[in-house]
């Protein structure tokens, strides 16, 4: 039977990708971020998940605005590395688990989440930065299989935070009804506070970010009632990505315990990290 063994909330700041590829792990400006993931990887090595469900958003790379899904789930055995307009990162193709994905699609749609099902999908920094930090790839591939779950957090109207939370709860039911033995970690990515356009470019709010992580841990049901307006006003327009962390949190049980927590805000984004063991 399928089992969710852990959840991770983490930022997916694009500049982490090139910093990683250029070997800046020991650079004083980057070290605090990269070091925070060392204990997380040790913890994951003990949990030994088979699959990572990655809740992320595409940044106008593989999903054009001509047809833009609210929720899109990958159902393939592999996912290409997408070109976001700056060339592709030197990473191996992502391995999927189509059988598991198909099961999730069947269950979620039965459960009234009318997803767009993607048999071909390219993944970019929203997916790759978190995966790279938690499950670094080698020349022979990635240590776990993935299921990408893409959410529209870019073109309003967006799904509500509550809807994203409920999607997480439905995901848990879907995972637990899988007949094969599979251990799952779920990643909720994006945020935290940041704004990338307008005169308010560069706006961050550490106080909001810390509060968000507090609430995510202690009061997720309450946090799911947060409005887009509140997030965008208090943490910047692009911080609304944080609703994807609620999908991760919704997929965890009431007994899930927080394990790691970290925060670093060097440039224009509050980079948060929080893990839960379930």
């Amino acid at each position: 039977m399928g089992k969710i063994v852990g959840g991770i909330g983490l930022s997916h700041v694009p500049s982490v990708g090139p910093a990683y590829d250029r070997g800046k792990q020991q650079d004083p400006a980057w070290k605090p971020l990269f070091d925070a993931y060392i204990p997380v990887r040790e913890w994951l090595a003990k949990l030994k998940p088979d699959v990572a469900i990655v809740v992320y958003n595409d940044h106008v790379a593989d999903f054009p605005f001509a047809r833009y899904p609210t929720f899109a789930l990958g159902a393939a055995d592999s996912y290409a590395i997408a070109d976001e307009g700056f060339g592709t990162r030197p990473l191996p193709e992502v391995s999927g688990d189509a059988d598991f994905s198909i099961h999730l699609c069947e269950q979620l749609i039965q459960d009234e989440f009318d997803l767009t099902v993607c048999q071909e999908m390219g993944v970019e920094h929203g997916f790759l930065v978190p995966m790279n930090l938690c499950f670094p790839s080698t020349a022979s591939g990635w240590p776990v299989k993935s299921v990408p779950l893409q959410i529209n957090v870019v073109q309003h109207p967006l799904p509500t935070a509550r809807r994203c939370f409920k999607l997480g709860q439905a995901l848990r039911r879907a995972v637990e009804s899988y007949e094969e033995k599979v251990k799952v970690v779920i990643l909720g990515t994006g945020g935290m506070s940041h704004q990338l356009q307008g005169k308010r470019f560069g706006f961050m709010n550490e106080k909001f970010d810390q509060w968000f992580m507090d609430e995510l841990e202690r009061n997720p049901e309450g946090l799911a009632g947060i409005s887009h307006q509140k997030i965008m006003e208090e943490a910047g327009a692009e911080a609304v990505e944080l609703i994807m962390w609620l999908t991760m949190r919704g997929a965890l049980s009431k007994k899930a315990k927080r394990v790691h927590r970290h925060y670093y805000a060097p440039m224009t984004t509050g980079m948060g990290l929080i893990t839960f063991e379930d």
């Binding site: 605005f65 307009g85 700056f86 309003h156 990338l196 356009q197 005169k199 327009a237």
Partner: protein, 116 residues
Amino acid sequence: MGQPLKPIPDTSIFDLRLSRRGRRLNKMCEALCSPAEREAFKRDEEAFMTRFSLTEDEKKLIRTRDFKGLIEAGMNIYAMLKIGSATGNSLYKMGAQMRGESYEEFLKTRNISGAV
């Protein structure tokens, strides 16, 4: 239910109305996800813009690298990153311009400006 977002000072809210206004601009940027199209853009910017049916006002915004104006004209920020990359303007350079600061002034406002 279904309350539209209220305006936020100094912030653009990329909703369907704005996305529709920026349709041509965003479609052009989406094409830049292909290496061949990036080459075509760099080779002949004017022809590239014409191919995507940009209006004269839109072309002017691209020619003058007016990033603040492009956002107001409906260009999505993530679409704009592709134009930035093709024209040698990083996110932080575009950001400084949108704030009305020089790049150096902007860097001084950051906590750890080495993390670029």
